[in-house]
Amino acid sequence: MNKFFTKKLSIALFIFIPIIFLCHPNWFGFFGIQPYWPLFWLLPWAMLNGSIHGLIYGLFLGLILDSITLNSNFTQIPGLVLCGFWFGRIKENSDFWVGHFRYGLICSFASFLCGTLYFLQIVLKNFSDSNFYFFFPSIQNILAEVFLTGFFAPLICSQLFRLFKFSK
């Protein structure tokens, strides 16, 4: 049982992502905004398993997260698929500090990419209305998310990377 759990640790943590996405723990938040949780799992997973796995699991994550959010007109899939593919091409850095810093930087950029793609969908959907520019102030959502994701990534991603490597 223990061996099974160790081997399937990454999958167990995959299931945990939508739960934490719904839990929305306030102590991690900043003005009510949370880090973009799926990236913390996707980055170490794709780094160990390659671009194709990253792309596929990015799609899976997108599907699950879309199903638990109510915004039926917008999707998180494109951002996560692109990030999954990109993360698969990144290799582990041997230097402790540089490696940690890279996790933060990569996750920040990925969060910016996902947030921007989502925001563009909202703007495009409302483009026909004359008031589509109303949505511009909500860019602050992207910025807060980028900051938080980059802030927590070095800690969470490095630990997950070690766990996944150990269980592989």
Binding site: L22, H24, G32, I33, N71, N131, S138, N141
Partner: protein
């Protein structure tokens, strides 16, 4: 030399009693100048229980309350009758389900709450969710045990509202931040900061006159529309219990 010392110890300011008398004198001067306001204020509290008009005031207020209650019931009946004639939405106290918030996403793009009452308990898509303060959102999805609510701040939320002071209908659009925008489709609308916004009486989706928010700022618009930033009365990020209002669509 000795004489001088004896005289100086006998000066009036060397006696404590004299200082006390001076203090009392100054206090009385102050009372005189203030025209006895301290005395009057103390007397106000002492005599309060014995005021002759107090009991009468209570009777009057009670009568006024009863009058208002009767008037309210008449107006409610009238309103119901008129809404029936116009085939508009209505709701009754019997159609309320209390529910707890079990998940809350009030930041970022996804603005939703999940409640612990689902289709098993009678919650349906389109039901209105109220919290302390007023309208929170509309149920967008139900499972057997839970229901998901799209908050008014969500980018997917668009509801018809009523600005009572200017007697005008408008559209409340969620933008993905904490302040939805009110759009009034006329440039001449005289909305001001502090105007009260409630659900539109003409709405076919929402029950009428549910408090929603107040105008926080009015935008300078060059379009043919007038827009304003709305501060919501119900705060979804702190509310733990809500009420689901069953709306007959």
């Amino acid at each position: 030399m000795l004489d001088i010392r004896r005289i100086s110890t006998n000066r009036w300011w060397h006696k404590k009693n004299n200082w006390a008398l001076l203090g009392i004198f100054l206090f009385l001067v102050f009372v005189r100048i203030s025209k006895g306001s301290i005395y009057k204020d103390i007397y106000f509290y002492i005599s309060k229980p014995f005021w002759p008009g107090e009991f009468q005031k209570e009777i009057l207020l009670k009568s006024k309350d009863q009058e208002s209650l009767i008037e309210l019931n008449i107006l409610k009946r009238d309103n119901k009758r008129l809404r029936e004639i116009l085939y508009l939405q209505e709701s009754s106290k019997n159609d309320i389900i209390s529910a707890a918030v079990i998940s809350r996403k009030t930041g970022s793009w996804w603005r939703q709450i999940i409640l612990n009452k689902g289709s098993k308990d009678g919650a349906e898509i389109g039901n209105v969710v109220l919290g302390p303060g007023g309208l929170l959102g509309i149920i967008n999805n139900t499972s057997l045990l839970t229901s998901s609510v799209t908050l008014l701040t969500s980018t997917e939320s668009k509801v018809g509202v009523w600005v009572d002071r200017v007697q005008m209908n408008g559209l409340l659009v969620g933008l993905g931040d904490d302040y939805p925008r009110l759009i009034l489709y006329t440039k001449d609308a005289d909305i001001k900061v502090g105007d009260f916004v409630s659900s539109s009486p003409a709405s076919t989706l929402l029950p009428p006159n549910i408090p929603i928010g107040i105008v926080q700022s009015v935008d300078d618009s060059f379009n043919a529309e007038k827009t304003a930033k709305i501060l919501l009365l119900a705060k979804p990020h702190v509310i733990d219990w809500v009420q689901i209002l069953k709306v007959k669509i």
